[in-house]
C-alpha cells in the first residue's frame, strides 16, 4: 500500500510539468485575447478561384 506514496509523487511531478507548460503559455501571451481565438477557429478560407 505504501507504493501509493511513489505514485502520488510521480503524479505530482508529471502534473507539475503541465503546470509549467501552462505558465509558459501565459507568459507567451496566449491568454491575452480569449475572444479572438474563439472566432478565428471558425473562419474558413474560401476556395481558390482560378485566376486568369
Amino acid at each position: 500500500m505504501s507504493v501509493i506514496i511513489i505514485l502520488i509523487i510521480l503524479a505530482l511531478v508529471i502534473a507539475g510539468g503541465f503546470l509549467a507548460a501552462f505558465l509558459w503559455a501565459v507568459n507567451n501571451g496566449q491568454y491575452d485575447d480569449t475572444q479572438g481565438a474563439a472566432i478565428r477557429m471558425l473562419l474558413e478560407d474560401p476556395e481558390e478561384h482560378k485566376r486568369d
Binding site: 505504501s2 502520488i8 502534473a15 507568459n27 491575452d32 479572438g36 472566432i39 474560401p46
Partner: protein, 840 residues
C-alpha cells in the same frame, strides 16, 4: 431613375439616401463603400461579406500617414525594425466582428509585401509584419484606412494598457497554480471525506497531511500574494482596504491548519484554504475583465469635443475634431485659444502662456519656425501652426484633468458619501469577525468560532462603494457624450447631481454665438469692413465671431499685428498701418457718440435692444455695429423645467440692460438679472452665492469669465463650434443642447440615485451574508464565491440602470430637439430656397 425604396448599402448597412451606386449586383450608399468593396473583390476577399451582414463602416475621409515613413518616427512606434522585416502595432477601433478579424488577418492578399498580420480582438489591436523593401509603413496604414479600418498609431507605448496586461497575466498564472494545488489537495483529502479507517496504514494520514501542507505553500505564497501585499500597504498607509480582512482570513486558515498538522490534532483546512484562494482569484479575474472592458470602451470612444481650425491649401478654414489631426495640418489659433497639438510656428513671433502645462505664469516668446507645444495658450495676436505631432487622447485627458484645474475648497458633494462609508466598513468587518469568533469561543464551540471568524472576514464586501460610483458615472458620461454633453471625469458627472443654483452668462450662452443679423450705424470708411473683419476673426469672443462671420469676406485679408484683447472692454490691433479698436463705447472713446445718436436718430435708440460693438480707427470713433441677439429656442421651457427641479437661476451679462424685458419673460420675474457686469463683478457674484452655501454651476463661455468659472462648484462651457477650449470647465455642452439642460440635469440626479440605490443593495446583501457567516453556517470557499458575485451584481446593476436611463434620455432629448426645430421660426437661410424652386 431608380425608385426610392428603402435600400441599404451592401457594405455598411446605412440607408442609401438618393444615390444608388451599383456594382456586381450589389448596391452601395456612396463611392467610398463601393471602393472598399472593389478592393476586397479584386483581392478575392469577398468572404468578408459572407461572415456578417453589412460588416463595413461608412467610409471616412482620407488621412495621411506620411510621417510613418520617417525612420526616426517609425523606430519609435514600431517594435521591430530590420531591413527585411518591420513589425508595427496599431489600434483599430473599428474592429467589431468576425468579418473584421478575417479581413484583417488576410491583409497579405490585399497588399503584397505584408508578411503577416495578427489581431488581438479584445484589445482591438493589430500587429502587422511587413517587408520594408516592398512596402512602406504609410502604405500599410493607408491600406487599412482605405478598407474602413482607420488605424491609430500610438505615439508612445501605452503604459496603462501594458500594465493592465501584466496584471491580467499575473492573475491567470496565479489561478493556474492555485487550481493545480487545490485539485491535488482535495485528492489527498479524499480519505478524510470518505472516512477511510486510518488503522490500515496509520503513516498515510500523516504523509498526506504533510503533502497538503507542501501544496498549500504555493497557494499562500504565490496565489494569495496580492492580498497580503495589499494588506501590508493598507496598514502602512493607514487606509483600510478590502485586502486586510481577506489577508487575515487566509492567514487564519493557513496557520490553524499548520498547527493541526504539527500537533497531529486534525487534518487541517487545506482544502478550504485552497478553494478559498482559488475562488477569490477567479472572482478578481472576472471583475478585472468586466471592468477592464468597460473602461476600455470609454477610453477609446471618448469624444473629444474639441476641434481645431484647420486651413487647407486654398486658404479655406474648416473645423476638424482634435483626434483627426495629422502631422502636416496647418492650423489657425486665435487669441487666447489653446494650441491643440505640438507643432511649428508659421506666423510671426508670438507669446505663449504655458501655465496650463508647466505651471509657469510667465509667458514664453516663440519665434517663427520654433516649436510650440500643445496646451499652451496664445497670449498675443494669432498664430498659424503646422502640426508635428497630434495630441493623443490620453495626453489631452491628462491636460484637462491637470492638478491646476482641480477645484479646491469645499468638500465635494460626491466624496462625502463615499468617504464616510468606506472608512468605517472595513474596521466594522474586523470588529464583527472578532466579536463573532469570541462569542462562539465563549460558548465553547471552537470550530464554529474559527468558521465564523474567517467567513465574516471574507464575505463582507464594500466593493459597491469604490466601484459602482465610477462605473455608473462612466456609463452616464457615455450616454451624455452621444448628446453633445461632455463631462471632464466621473467626479464632475457626480457634481452635476448636486447643483442647486445656475448662473447663466448671456452673450454666447443664452444667445447663439455667431448667428443673428447686425446693422451698422455711423460713418463708413472705404476699407473699414475689411479691417474690422480681419481684426475680428482673430478673437474668440462671441461678438467678434459674429462680426467675423457676418461681414463679407474681404478681397484680401489685412495683415494684423499687435493684437491685444482686454476682457470686458474690447479688442485692439494694428491693421494696414491703422490702429483699430473694437469694443465697448468707453473703449473706443465714444460716449459722446451714444448721446449724439439718441438725439440724432431717436428711432435707433428705441430699437437699441441688441449688443453694440463700437469701432474706432486711429483713435476716432466711427460708429457701431448693432448685433441682434438670436436667442436659443426653447429657453422658456428650459427655465421652467429648471425651476421645477428646485434650481435657483441668476443671469449675468456684460451687456447693457436692453434685453431685460425679454429675459424676464423667458425666465420669470423672480430671476436675478445683472447687467454691465465686468469679469470681476461676475466673479464676485458667483463667490457670494457659493459663500451663501449654494452649489453653483456657471454656464458660460469659459474664456471670458474664467475667474467666475473657477469660483463656481461646476463650470459648464456652452460651445457652438468648439473652437476654443477652457480647461477650467468641468462640463462642455454643445450649444444646441442648452434648451434640454433641465433634462440633462435630471438625468445626472437619476444616475446618482442609481448609485445610492446600489449602495443599499450592497448593504442588504452584506447584512444577509454576514448573518449566515456569524452563525457559522457559511463555509470559507462559499464565502469566497459570494463576495465577488455580490460586488459584480451591485456594480452591474448600478451601471446597467444608469446606461438604460441614458439611452432613454438620448431618445427623449432627440425627440425634444426635433419638436423644437419643427416649431422654430423661419431663419434667413431658408428664404432663398423657395425662390430657386419657382425658377425651375
Amino acid at each position: 431613375m431608380a425608385s426610392l425604396t428603402a435600400t441599404t448599402c451592401y457594405h455598411c448597412g446605412q440607408p442609401c439616401a438618393d444615390k444608388l451606386i451599383a456594382q456586381d449586383g450589389h448596391v452601395f450608399c456612396c463611392t467610398g463603400c463601393r471602393a472598399v468593396y472593389g478592393i476586397l473583390a479584386q483581392a478575392q476577399l469577398c468572404n468578408y461579406y459572407e461572415l456578417q451582414q453589412a460588416p463595413g463602416r461608412p467610409a471616412a475621409s482620407h488621412q495621411r500617414f506620411a510621417w510613418l515613413d520617417q525612420p526616426e518616427l517609425l523606430s519609435r512606434v514600431a517594435d521591430l525594425v530590420t531591413p527585411a522585416r518591420v513589425s508595427l502595432n496599431m489600434q483599430v477601433p473599428a474592429m467589431h466582428c468576425a468579418s473584421c478579424i478575417w479581413v484583417l488577418e488576410h491583409l497579405d492578399r490585399l497588399l503584397p509585401g505584408i508578411i503577416d498580420s495578427r489581431v488581438s480582438f479584445v484589445e482591438k489591436q493589430i500587429n502587422v509584419a511587413f517587408n520594408p523593401q516592398l512596402v512602406s509603413a504609410s502604405q500599410v496604414a493607408s491600406t487599412l484606412a482605405s478598407i474602413g479600418y482607420e488605424p491609430v498609431v500610438a505615439g508612445a507605448p501605452d503604459q496603462e494598457a501594458a500594465a493592465h496586461k501584466r496584471q491580467m497575466r499575473g492573475i491567470v498564472a496565479r489561478i493556474g497554480v492555485t487550481g493545480f494545488c487545490a485539485g491535488n489537495i482535495m485528492l489527498m483529502a479524499f480519505p478524510e471525506y470518505l472516512g477511510i479507517d486510518a488503522d490500515v496504514t496509520p503513516a498515510l494520514r500523516e504523509i498526506f497531511a504533510w503533502l497538503n501542507l507542501a501544496l498549500s505553500l504555493p497557494v499562500v505564497l504565490f496565489g494569495a500574494s496580492e492580498y497580503f501585499m495589499g494588506a501590508v500597504t493598507a496598514l502602512r498607509t493607514r487606509r483600510m482596504s478590502l485586502d486586510v480582512p481577506l489577508a487575515l482570513g487566509i492567514a487564519t486558515l493557513f496557520l490553524r491548519s499548520v498547527y493541526e498538522t504539527l500537533t497531529q490534532t486534525g487534518p487541517g483546512f487545506y482544502d478550504a484554504l485552497a478553494g478559498l484562494v482559488l475562488f477569490l482569484l477567479a472572482g478578481r479575474w472576472v471583475q478585472r475583465r468586466t471592468f477592464g472592458s468597460l473602461r476600455f470602451d470609454t477610453r477609446l470612444q471618448q469624444y473629444f469635443p474639441i476641434a481645431a481650425c484647420q486651413i487647407n491649401e486654398d486658404g479655406a478654414e474648416k473645423y476638424v475634431p482634435l483626434d483627426q489631426l495629422v502631422p502636416g495640418d496647418r492650423l489657425r489659433i486665435r487669441n487666447q485659444e489653446l494650441i491643440p497639438a505640438d507643432g511649428l510656428l508659421q506666423s510671426a513671433a508670438a507669446l505663449i502662456d504655458y501655465s496650463f502645462v508647466t505651471g509657469e505664469a510667465q509667458p514664453v516668446p516663440v519665434n517663427q519656425g520654433e516649436r510650440v507645444f500643445a496646451g499652451g495658450r496664445l497670449q498675443t495676436g494669432f498664430a498659424e501652426v503646422v502640426v508635428e505631432r497630434a495630441l493623443d487622447s490620453g495626453r489631452f485627458s491628462r491636460l484637462w484633468n491637470h492638478q491646476a484645474f482641480r477645484k479646491q475648497g469645499r468638500q465635494r458633494f460626491a466624496l462625502r458619501l463615499e468617504g464616510v462609508f468606506s472608512k468605517y466598513f472595513t474596521a466594522f468587518t474586523i470588529a464583527l469577525a472578532l466579536g463573532a469568533g469570541g462569542s462562539w469561543l465563549a460558548l465553547g464551540q471552537v470550530d464554529n468560532a474559527w468558521g465564523a471568524f474567517t467567513a465574516v472576514l471574507i464575505v463582507a464586501c464594500p466593493c459597491a462603494l469604490s466601484l459602482a460610483m465610477p462605473f455608473a458615472m462612466q456609463a452616464a458620461m457615455h450616454s451624455l457624450a452621444q448628446l453633445g454633453v461632455f463631462a471632464k471625469n466621473a467626479q464632475a458627472m457626480t457634481e452635476l447631481a448636486g447643483i442647486n443654483h445656475l448662473v447663466f452668462d448671456k452673450t454666447g450662452t443664452l444667445t447663439h454665438a455667431g448667428a443673428g443679423s447686425f446693422s451698422y450705424h455711423g460713418t463708413r470708411v472705404s476699407d473699414m469692413e475689411a479691417l474690422v473683419a480681419s481684426v475680428a476673426r482673430h478673437s474668440s469672443h462671441p461678438l467678434s465671431r459674429a462680426l467675423a462671420e457676418g461681414l463679407p469676406r474681404p478681397q484680401q485679408w489685412a495683415a494684423v499685428s499687435h493684437l491685444d484683447e482686454l476682457p470686458g472692454q474690447g479688442l485692439r490691433a494694428v491693421a494696414r498701418g491703422r490702429h483699430i479698436r473694437l469694443g465697448s463705447a468707453d473703449f473706443c472713446g465714444a460716449p459722446a457718440m451714444v448721446a449724439n445718436a439718441t438725439q440724432v436718430m431717436p428711432e435707433a435708440a428705441a430699437e437699441a435692444n441688441g449688443s453694440r460693438v463700437y469701432v474706432s480707427i486711429d483713435g476716432l470713433p466711427m460708429g457701431y455695429y448693432e448685433l441682434q441677439p438670436q436667442w436659443r429656442p426653447g429657453l422658456a421651457e428650459m427655465a421652467a423645467g429648471l425651476k421645477k427641479m428646485g434650481l435657483g437661476i441668476s443671469i449675468l451679462s456684460g451687456d447693457n440692460a436692453a434685453q431685460a424685458p425679454v429675459l424676464r419673460e423667458l425666465f420669470g420675474s423672480d430671476t436675478e438679472l445683472h447687467f454691465h457686469a465686468q469679469p470681476e463683478e461676475k466673479l464676485a457674484a458667483v463667490e457670494a452665492l457659493e459663500r451663501a452655501g449654494k452649489t453653483v454651476a456657471m454656464a458660460g463661455d469659459g474664456m471670458n469669465d474664467a475667474g467666475a468659472f473657477a469660483a463656481a462648484s461646476l463650470g459648464l462651457a456652452i460651445k457652438d463650434d468648439f473652437g476654443s477650449f477652457s480647461p477650467a470647465s468641468d462640463v462642455i455642452i454643445e450649444g444646441r443642447r442648452l434648451p434640454q439642460l433641465h433634462l440633462v440635469l435630471a438625468y445626472a440626479r437619476r444616475a446618482y440615485n442609481n448609485v445610492a440605490f446600489s449602495f443599499l443593495i450592497s448593504l442588504v446583501f452584506n447584512a444577509i451574508a454576514l448573518w449566515f457567516a456569524v452563525t457559522a453556517q457559511l463555509s470559507a470557499p462559499i464565502a469566497a464565491l459570494l463576495m465577488p458575485l455580490g460586488s459584480i451584481t451591485v456594480v452591474l446593476t448600478a451601471t446597467g440602470l444608469t446606461w438604460l436611463a441614458g439611452q432613454r434620455l438620448v431618445k427623449t432629448v432627440n425627440q425634444h430637439a426635433q419638436t423644437l426645430a419643427a416649431s422654430a421660426p423661419v431663419t434667413e437661410e431658408e428664404k432663398p430656397a423657395p425662390a430657386a424652386e419657382t425658377i425651375q
